[in-house]
């Protein structure tokens, strides 16, 4: 297999994970690693879906809870809870972010012809996070637009965020029982 073909194949590979009984996928080339949930250092004055920061081989990396990000029901972190570390690109700047998901599922090849446009999701999830839908046999995987997922530039100033953050005062509890999103 030549290098070219390989890259082409990798381009169509997606790492999928489970979130609230739904399967989501991210391009495998953007994944830097998968690790278990560990305690984070909470960041004050930040959006509630930012669980804090961790030390990833000397780099300080923010951790985002995807359930909170998607306004899904918040559940306690368990044995399967994992952090998928991805590289995202924003304004020509590479950033590393950890995503907390329920569990890792699989790696799938999804060709362009098996990709569908995003239908309207209504309230459950905002469309800007979704790149498209991937069909795998009878199954459907939601392919995420990870660069949009955590657009830090759109994060409002800390002071405003702070006022909506009252419910997350209890940071230590997040380790076991994530609190209700604001």
């Amino acid at each position: 297999m030549s290098d070219n073909e390989k890259t082409q194949e990798e381009l169509n590979q997606y790492l999928t994970f489970v979130l609230d009984n739904e399967e989501y996928g991210v391009p495998i080339l953007s994944v830097r690693g998968i690790q278990g949930w560990e305690k984070t250092t909470p960041l004050p004055n930040s959006p509630d879906y930012v669980m804090g920061i961790i030390n990833l081989r000397g780099e300080v990396v923010p951790i985002v809870d995807l359930r909170k990000r998607f306004d899904l029901e918040v559940i306690p972190y368990g044995a399967h809870t994992v952090v998928i570390v991805v590289r995202i690109e924003q304004e020509n700047k590479q950033r590393t972010v950890g995503l907390v998901v329920d569990a890792v599922a699989d790696v799938h090849d999804i060709n362009d012809e098996d990709m569908r446009k995003t239908p309207e999701f209504g309230e459950k999830m905002r469309n800007e996070f979704v790149r498209g839908l991937g069909l795998i046999d009878e199954k459907m995987v939601i392919i995420l637009e990870i660069d949009e997922l955590v657009d830090w530039q759109k994060v409002p100033g800390g002071d405003q965020v702070l006022s909506t953050k009252e419910t997350t005062e209890d940071e230590t509890e997040n380790e076991l029982v994530a609190t209700e999103a604001a």
């Binding site: 984070t40 004050p44 930040s46 300080v60 530039q153």
Partner: protein
């Protein structure tokens, strides 16, 4: 713009180098001119200026920036007259030269694109030319600079030599962009040139290829130069041509011109080399590093590699047997401590790469003082000491503007007019002293003047007017002095365009605190004032006090901590609507609860403060007390920016990784001073 310039993107890099060289050259010229203005009549200074102009001209011509080359040429010709003492150095002459430097700077800046004020440039050029016209063409020097010993030796014009150069370019000469006329022009600068082209190699027209070179030349050069200097001009095209240089004995008459030309060419190459060694330009993304620093890095890395193999060895040995394991343990410990030392040295060496002498920033100010003092009709001398003190590049870049403000301020408000100074029994010329020095782990920069000092009465009056101080208060002298750092405060009676718009001092303070430094003022009426800036050596590492709040460990920069006291409940007062106050030695210190500020668990009631620690930090000249659960170690911490992967978080300076691998947040003390005033009040109460 008539310049053709280097437009090809591949040449961008060369352009940048040329630009840096031009700027270095202009710095030399400017420094020299200011020295002349200051009464320095050393011919060396004139020579330095001349060399600077000469290399810019040479470079500009080579790279095709005809506008720069033409402009510098006029400058150079006029400078040559100064060198030959046909023209005396006078303030108006220095002024027009300084203006030319400004024009050149603008031209150099716009080399990569953009436009400069052509009209003004043309005006300056015309003025320079008019100075040239003033120089009589006679050989007798007009009122010149005091002839020193230097000049006398130069007056003895040496014999001129006549050279015959046989210049045969290869056919491919033109393909690399070489132009014979550039070489001829360069030779013409050495002396009188006459060319005899040889067309004998020209092919018949049908075989003629326009991109090839068929002509050769016989060049006669009358100049007092040696062979090497002539060959130097052919350096660029060495591989593309054959050059033969032979001397013909022939006496010369025109003594005068040659002397000037001679020393010029002899100096130009060494001058260029000297300039390229100068420090890197401000605001540039690249940095020029001393080769010694890189060598020491290499050495340390080498040591580390050896260290690693030692450790490997010991590990292998230790697994052989029980006894070996026991004995190798000692060795292992030694190796580890060696590794630790090497690592620390390596870290220091890497930090040193970012260090630049403060002169790179200080060099801007003599010009500023010159311009301002003539504008304000004051006599001011700028003394600079400790310009070799090194500072982190980032710190250095950020200190430029605050210093500019301070010097401007000293000039405008501090130093009195000559009449006032004489009346006060002082020297007519005021002095501003700019100094830098290492003190402990920080760098001190001081701006002192011998002017009138801060006018306490005026400041206090203004402060009361603006409602910063209540009428009944009796602040101490120092407290009054500190008021100048207050936003919107200016005591200049007349708002000048130099300073006095009431922005400035508070901006100075903010900028300095932003980079983790602090600024203080000491002033004595009638004797002058001193502004003292304390800066951290680097922005990458800071001395931190680790503190514990809730389950979390935070870092407070040690530099901002004044003291730590145990909370005594009797000293706490709750002022409704504005927060909590702690009374300490008659001072009321606002208290910030870290738990509430950073949303940490268990934001408890007031009475839980008993027995806790109150860390008093100072920011923007105000003391603030931070309630923390406990004090931990003091550590040097490496600052990791949150912005690398996230965004800037208000109240947080950055993060650091502690010895156990966990991440800890560094508290940005400067943002703490706001809570009492507005938005964060709510935070305290919610």
């Amino acid at each position: 713009m008539s310049s053709t310039g280097i437009n090809d993107s591949g040449m961008d890099e060369i352009r940048v180098i040329f630009e840096t060289e031009c700027n270095d050259g202009l710095d030399v010229i400017e420094a020299g001119l200011l020295a002349l203005e200051g009464g320095d009549d050393n011919l060396d200074t004139v020579n330095d200026i001349f060399r600077g102009a000469h290399s810019i001209k040479g470079g500009a011509a080579t790279f095709g920036y005809t506008n720069i080359a033409e402009f510098t040429h006029v400058m150079e010709t006029l400078l040559d007259k100064v060198r030959a003492e046909e023209l005396a150095v006078s303030p108006p002459l220095v002024k027009i030269f300084l203006e030319s430097v400004d024009c050149l700077r603008a031209m150099v800046e716009t080399m990569g694109g953009g436009s400069y004020d052509e009209e003004k440039t043309e005006k300056v050029k015309v003025e320079l030319e008019s100075w040239l016209d003033k120089v009589p063409n006679s050989e007798s020097p007009v009122a010149a600079i005091e002839p020193g010993s230097d000049t006398e030796s130069a007056m003895k014009a040496p014999e001129s030599r006549c050279w015959k150069i046989n210049f045969v370019p290869k056919n491919s000469f033109l393909l690399n962009g070489n132009q014979p006329q550039y070489i001829f022009r360069a030779l013409a600068e050495l002396g009188k040139v006459s060319l005899k082209p040889n067309y004998s190699n020209l092919p018949p027209f049908k075989e003629y290829k326009p991109e090839e070179m068929y002509i050769s030349w016989e060049i006669e050069l009358e100049a007092n130069v040696d062979k090497a200097q002539i060959l130097e001009e052919f350096d660029w095209v060495e591989s593309e041509c054959l050059v033969e240089v032979n001397e013909e004995k022939r006496p010369q008459i025109e003594n005068y011109d040659r002397r000037a030309e001679d020393s010029r060419s002899a100096d130009s190459s060494s001058g260029r080399r000297k300039q390229s060694r100068r420090g890197a330009k401000k605001d540039s993304g690249s940095i020029r590093v001393d080769i010694d620093k890189i060598d020491s890095l290499l050495n340390l890395v080498g040591e580390m590699v050896i260290n690693q193999s030692m450790l490997n060895n010991q590990f292998n040995n230790s697994s052989n047997s029980e006894e070996a394991f026991a004995s190798s343990n000692v060795e292992l410990e030694q190796s580890l401590s060696l590794l630790e030392r090497t690592t620390r040295e390596l870290q220091e060496a890497v930090m040193k790469i970012r260090m630049l002498p403060v002169s790179t920033t200080f060099n801007r100010y003599p010009r500023l003082v010159y311009d301002l003092s003539s504008k304000l009709d004051k006599h001011v001398e700028l003394k600079i000491t400790g310009e070799n003190t090194e500072l982190d590049k980032t710190v250095l870049e950020k200190i430029g503007d605050p210093l500019l403000h301070l010097i401007r301020n000293s000039l405008d408000h501090g130093i009195e007019s000559p009449e006032q100074r004489i009346a006060a029994g002082k020297d007519e010329t005021g002095t501003i002293h700019l100094s830098a020095s290492h003190e402990g782990g920080s760098v001190m920069i001081r701006v002192s003047d011998d002017g009138a000092g801060l006018n306490t009465k005026k400041i206090l009056k203004k402060a009361i007017e603006k409602g910063l101080v209540s009428k009944d208060d009796t602040p101490s002298e120092q407290q009054i002095h500190d008021l100048v750092f207050h936003a919107g405060f200016s005591t200049a009676e007349v708002v000048t365009d130099v300073s006095g718009r009431g922005v400035g001092m508070d901006v100075v303070r903010n900028n300095i605190e932003e980079i983790g430094g602090r600024v203080d003022v000491h002033s004595e009426a009638g004797k002058g004032s001193t502004f003292q800036i304390t800066l951290p050596l680097t922005l990458a590492i800071l001395d931190g006090q680790l503190i514990q709040v809730g389950g979390e460990v935070y870092v407070i920069p040690l530099l901002s901590i004044v003291e730590t006291v145990q909370v005594n409940m009797d000293r706490i007062n709750v002022i409704s609507g504005s927060g909590i106050i702690y009374r300490l030695r008659g001072e009321a210190i606002p208290v910030v609860d870290m738990r509430k500020l950073y949303n940490i668990t268990g934001a408890d009631a007031l009475d839980s403060y008993e027995g806790k620690q109150l860390v008093i930090v100072e920011s923007e000249r105000r003391s603030i007390g931070l309630v923390v659960d406990g004090l931990l170690d003091q550590h040097q911490v490496v600052i990791k920016s949150l912005e690398t992967n996230f965004i800037k978080v208000p109240g947080i300076l950055g993060a650091t990784i502690l010895g156990d691998g966990t991440v800890s947040l560094i508290i940005d003390v400067t943002t703490l001073s706001a809570p009492i005033s507005n938005d964060k009040t709510n935070r305290l109460e919610h």
